[in-house]
């Protein structure tokens, strides 16, 4: 099923025509209402009239998170506060949070895109949706909530936390779908099992999971533990919140970006140069329908690539691959781009290894070196040197095969690597360049 079939299956030329029309409107609006954009455009030597084709988007300057901080809290809004009906804010891990505002119509659009996402996950008004995303300043809870109501499904506004209650409601209310972060769903599955609940016999059949990077391996774990289909949803509060892109249950291969509301680009994070379809780089979004807080060429720092092939579900919107990392974590080792998350997925592919690792980058002479320190757990420990050396060789080979870079693998004692609450610092870069 497709929620907005007339939009979601538009031919490519029609999508692009619609995008151009909307882009021209939004560019003109921000230029004339927001001092920041007028200045940025003037500095780049462009005016709204220069946007004659979608290709001209490249001429516009980027917007980045720092610009949002510099204009904290409401400096980038294009409408008076009397037209703003809702504010959300991202958790600022460093400094002030970033604040986003919505008009009534923005809330309506957002709900529609979330409803589209639920339908893409195979849901309808007959479903009961357990919403365990946090309600509050975070966009997850209310975003999913309004979408579920828009669809006409029954929504359980559970929010996060209270694990025992979550499990009780999952049993008693019999929801057919759950929204939360993938790691929280895994945690719920384990907690339920410990409470003696058969988590695979719940009525749940699908998980709409996002708000953090996760791997195919984690998807398998979740699907096995709960006997559900786990789907990936993408969004960020700056652009709108959850529902910028959603994986469809028919294809399960990449997330459809709602291109009638957002224009996506992939750029080389180092040079800012736009990359063609299929190339991996940083996602950049331009919102073309948002009223309160439009963003032009916003750099997400999320790394992905675009897949233009039409999906078997019939949606014509371009798909993005699951986010594989953040550009601020990217390392360049002997010219090869390496993301810690890629090393993590290599490690997680090996039975018995846990995602406790540290990367040490150094330079010997003119050559970059990468050392991957991995904790030895009892599952992989052997009393024979040969077995452990085989493990080292296997990790080295997998990293080479997958990333194209030669790493030295060093096994270290359990719990000897630093643990992180919150954002992990996996990389120690000792290079003096």
């Amino acid at each position: 099923m497709i929620y907005n079939e007339e939009f979601e299956t538009l031919p490519r030329e029609a999508i692009e025509a619609l995008q151009l029309k909307r882009l021209q409107q939004v560019v003109s609006r921000v230029y004339h209402t927001v001092g920041f954009y007028r200045k940025a455009f003037d500095n780049a030597g462009v005016t709204p009239d220069d946007v004659r084709s979608l290709d001209d988007l490249k001429r516009l300057p980027f917007t980045c998170k720092q610009d949002l901080r510099d204009n904290y809290p409401f400096g980038l809004f294009t409408v008076p506060m009397s037209n703003i009906v809702r504010l959300h804010a991202s958790s600022g891990t460093t400094g002030k949070p970033t604040v986003v505002g919505y008009t009534q119509r923005d809330i309506e659009t957002w709900a529609t895109l979330m409803a589209r996402s639920f339908v893409a996950a195979g849901l309808s008004k007959n479903d009961i949706i357990h919403n365990a995303y946090g309600y509050g300043l975070f966009t997850g809870g209310l975003g999913a909530h309004y979408g579920a109501e828009k669809l006409g499904a029954s929504v359980i506004p559970m929010s996060g936390g209270s694990t025992k209650k979550q499990i009780m409601l999952l049993q008693d209310f019999g929801p057919t779908a759950i929204c939360c972060t993938p790691s929280y769903l895994l945690y719920l599955a384990e907690a339920g099992k410990e409470m003696g609940v058969d988590m695979s016999s719940l009525r749940l059949r699908v998980g709409i999971l996002g708000a953090e990077p996760w791997s195919e391996r984690m998807r398998e774990q979740i699907e096995r533990a709960l006997d559900i289909t786990a789907l990936d949803i993408y969004g960020l509060s700056e652009i709108m919140g959850p529902g910028v892109a959603m994986e469809c249950i028919e294809g399960r291969c990449g997330l459809h970006i709602y291109e009638d509301h957002f224009i996506v680009e992939v750029i080389d994070p180092a040079t800012g140069e736009a990359l063609p379809y299929g190339k991996t780089g940083e996602l950049v979004f331009t919102t073309i329908t948002k009223e309160a807080f439009p963003l032009i060429r916003y750099r997400t720092k999320d790394i992905s690539r675009l897949m233009p092939q039409v999906c078997k579900c019939g949606r014509t919107f371009v798909r993005m691959e699951r986010v594989s990392g953040r550009s601020d974590d990217m390392l360049i080792i002997r010219g090869v781009n390496v993301f810690p998350s890629q090393i993590e997925s290599v490690l997680l592919e090996i039975d018995g290894l846990e995602p406790h690792y540290q990367l040490i980058v150094d330079r010997e002479g003119s050559l970059d070196t990468l050392e991957v320190q991995v904790e030895v757990r009892e599952k992989i420990f052997s009393d024979e040197i040969r077995e452990l050396q085989n493990m080292e060789k296997r990790i080295t080979k997998d990293i080479k095969d997958y990333l194209g870079v030669t790493a030295k693998v060093k096994l270290v004692e359990p719990k000897s690597l630093q643990r992180f609450e919150g954002k992990a610092q996996r990389v120690i870069d000792k290079r003096i360049i």
């Binding site: 009892e378 040197i385 050396q389 096994l411």
Partner: protein, 143 residues
């Protein structure tokens, strides 16, 4: 007829070994035999102790990766050719020795050697059938 050996993963760094011996000493566990196999980066410490369960527990508590393996303790005649007579027998049977080390104490007139074989049961069978004395675990832990 098998003896339980514990093995511990150690990084090659100062103080690694002593943190194990300290933990065992604090728990009043006696080391009966040991061997250390090492590469440039890491080592594997293999121990026969008088209380296997407790040793594993205290080392796990200290955060070590601890393995348990079955090894075989054999009395070897303390004379020239003693060890060789055992190895010849096993070679004949196609049994491979993964590693071996000597016990600190003697058993009467004989030396005691700890073996790790690729096929433990076959090795014990062959040794016993050929008149070698394979020591029971309880005996070894208390030697």
């Amino acid at each position: 007829m098998k003896v339980e050996q514990i093995s511990i993963f150690l990084e090659n760094k100062p103080g690694g070994l002593s943190s194990v011996t300290k933990a065992l000493s604090d728990a009043k566990i006696n080391i009966r035999a040991l061997s250390l196999a090492d590469t440039s980066d890491f080592g594997i410490l293999r121990l026969i102790v008088d209380n296997v369960a407790k040793a594993k527990e205290v080392l796990n508590e200290k955060g070590f990766a601890v393995g348990k393996t079955h090894v075989v303790a054999v009395e070897v005649p303390d004379r020239p050719g003693g060890l060789n007579s055992i190895l010849e027998l096993l070679t004949g049977k196609g049994i491979n020795v993964e590693y071996m080390y000597a016990f600190v104490e003697r058993s009467g007139e004989n030396a005691v050697i700890i073996f790790r074989f690729d096929s433990t049961d076959e090795a014990i069978e062959a040794l016993k059938n050929n008149g070698f004395n394979v020591l029971k675990g309880e005996k070894v832990y208390g030697l």
